[in-house]
Symmetry: C2
Subunit: 436 residues, 2 copies
């Protein structure tokens, strides 16, 4: 092999926002690019809560990575990266190794239970399509099981849905659950009244959406209450059982518990043997490379880096995308024997959706609440959704849901038993006599 | 309780075409109606092959039964019927019993392996949404694994997809698989050429689509070959192994095997203790009731009845729907103390789709092939799809796929290992040298 003519291999691990942008950008350089992901599809995470709440189908917010990168100089491989051989510059899969000259790790983050992994079966988190369909199954099944119990004359079940964590995901889930219980399903059951469902949002800190300014947090809380969500801040969950959440000595019965309280970086971060923070994020150099390995970059939720004001950059799509592009540009600079540039995040503002016609937006000093924030969120997210077809379909679904209060993907797939769903205790039950 | 005022309970088992129509029709009578299904959704079976082949999302062809029957006098219960107590007129669920005065059993059929249940893990059939996503997973995964193998320099894999059974489902699957391999995926892989995929359709009898006239069968076979399907008729499968189908002593290597060779009636048929045919279908009286139990009706794929010419009625949606309506009308007649009418099937014609622009149609003596049959099939099926929203979405998806050769739901969910996917033997492999 002629080393002078050898094309450098760039391997990108992860097909999320950071990895996709990195691969797409670096593909313009004279390199061979390989993107490895353990899923065949990119998931548009900002709309995942809509799949979990039966508003959208998985196929509408996920696209095959191969399809997104069609016609580009990127080889896409389905595979789970298990380790890195940094000395020999190889990525290790279960049954093969992929050599690299440059490596961009964009493996993201997952939900974390902070040492309480035993809570996971009773309180699923929301990071993948599979998580979303499991949450959807549990929510819809809770109503079905309550209806069956009541229709067969076995009494009424008080349905409580508890969402743990008041960040963007927790707020979206709680707001949308309230819409489902109080509007979508309101007239579809004969033996139960879905409007009696309690939606409880528990947040450990003093306010929801703590990444936003305080006035917006207060507005978000007000909007949540208006949608019918019971918001409890400064409330620490101390235990999760099959049908209940413990808050200190208080037992809150819960038909469904959803976990939105914490994320941890991918375990691949530790495999890079670079220093990490407590959440497992890799402390990267200002050019996003890792110490002692200028050929290895970490971008997106797996990277820990401070902005120009000394604040840690948040784990959001715009940061990941800008980082992915920056890492690719550093590789291009190397190949042209030009100096690399340090990464600077350009904050174009933040938006959070809360529920039907409710949201908040923060563009520097401009703070917006309510329907305008919600509409901005909606159109920006539909615009950034990958694939024109998806944008059209999601827009139709959304308009349909908005005007009809129907949700298009109310499927229970898989098992029709709810693990840990137990008959509520007597004090939680209002007995309902049925004539037959 | 005042027996003179007591409202009769009508229990319908199954939310397919027959059960839905039965429940909807009988709900107009002065009765209490309960529909029990083990799924929360009605599946529009004629489009299930589109989910299996990644063209449509599950949510686009399935609707919650509760939603379909909203506002009607029908209580919908999620539950799996396990048995019937005919003497005491009760339907038995796992944990409860539901009393009835009239019972309509519309439990349908499932795929059957004719005593070779050991083939099922290697050759899934297509009856439910879960089956469809499992088939989709296997098809997409086969391409991904072949690509990974080739990209890592481990050689080319000859991908063979084998469909067993030349009835409507087998023909649809084979025709659509050919479109995926030869068009949709043709330009998305770097290391393999999806166009080299072989699609083989095996039929035990002398011709495909044997329920149609002979000239239409011949036309269907020709259309399949034109789409790139290898059709082998009069070919009996004698064994199915993890990566191969046995035809006598010949071993046909197969990356994916799909089973479309036979259906058997629901096992609930036998629980009615009425005579059944070899496929387990209940031999019903001319009014669709069962012998000795005029209060019990069987409709749809679970019922065996001859038409006026002495031919067995086929297991298709129009038969199920007409039977469901007839059973409901017999109940209404009883309540009005009028005589029941015998069931007569009105055949409005049959249509089968084969693939892109290919299909056959038989309206009495009028036989149509090709693009007009395909378009008729398409519009009739979109028209009958339940829910206006689904009709709009499916139409958009279809138009989009037709003009762009893209498929909107190419998600691999669940496990990314292919059970039984083994490295092909040397003689099946063309070694491909990769420079790196």
């Amino acid at each position: 092999m002629d080393n002078n003519k050898r094309v450098p291999n760039v391997v990108v691990v992860g097909g999320g926002f950071g990895g996709l942008v990195a691969a797409r950008t670096v593909a313009h350089s004279p390199v061979r690019v390989t993107l490895i992901d353990r899923k065949n599809h990119h998931t548009f995470q900002p709309l995942l809560y809509q799949v979990a709440t039966a508003g959208l189908s998985p196929g509408e917010i996920a696209s095959p990575i191969r399809s997104i990168l069609r016609g580009r100089n990127v080889e896409v491989l389905l595979g789970e990266v298990q380790d890195f051989d940094l000395a020999n510059r190889r990525v290790k899969l279960a049954d093969a190794e992929v050599p690299y000259d440059y490596l961009i790790v964009a493996a993201g983050a997952s939900h974390a239970y902070f040492g309480h992994e035993e809570w996971e079966p009773f309180a699923p988190g929301l990071k993948t399509i599979e998580d979303a369909t499991e949450i959807r199954r549990r929510i819809l099944l809770a109503f079905e099981l309550a209806e069956r119990r009541a229709a067969l004359g076995e009494g009424q079940t008080q349905l409580n849905f508890v969402v743990v964590g008041g960040g963007p995901t927790g707020v979206e889930l709680a707001g949308t659950l309230a819409e489902i219980a109080h509007h979508v399903l309101a007239h579809e059951f004969h033996a139960i009244d879905p409007k009696r469902t309690r939606i409880v949002l528990l947040e450990g800190g003093p306010r929801v959406l703590p990444a936003y300014a305080e006035d917006l947090s207060r507005s978000a809380e007000k909007q949540l209450r208006h949608l019918g969500v019971e918001v409890q801040t400064s409330t620490m969950v101390t235990g999760i059982e099959p049908s209940a959440v413990m808050i200190g000595q208080t037992r809150l019965p819960a038909s469904v518990v959803l976990w939105a309280a914490g994320v941890a970086a991918s375990s691949l971060g530790k495999k890079l043997k670079a220093p990490t923070d407590r959440a497992g994020r890799v402390l990267v150099n200002p050019d996003l490379s890792i110490p002692e390995h200028p050929e290895v970059f970490v971008v997106g939720d797996l990277a820990a880096l401070k902005d120009d004001e000394g604040k840690w950059l948040p784990g959001v799509a715009p940061v990941a995308m800008q980082e992915g592009k920056a890492a690719a540009r550093s590789i291009a600079a190397d190949l042209k024997k030009k100096p690399r540039k340090n990464f600077h995040y350009i904050d174009k503002g933040s938006l959070a959706t809360i529920g039907r016609s409710a949201g908040i937006a923060q563009f520097g000093k401009l703070h917006i609440s309510g329907v305008i924030a919600w509409l901005s969120w909606l159109f920006i997210h539909i615009f950034f959704l990958i694939g024109f077809r998806n944008r059209v379909l999601v827009f139709i679904q959304w308009a349909w849901s908005y005007f009809t209060y129907e949700r298009g993907a109310r499927l229970i797939t898989g098992d029709t038993n709810l693990p840990g769903w137990t008959e509520p205790k007597a004090e939680e039950t209002e007995v309902h006599h049925q004539t037959s």
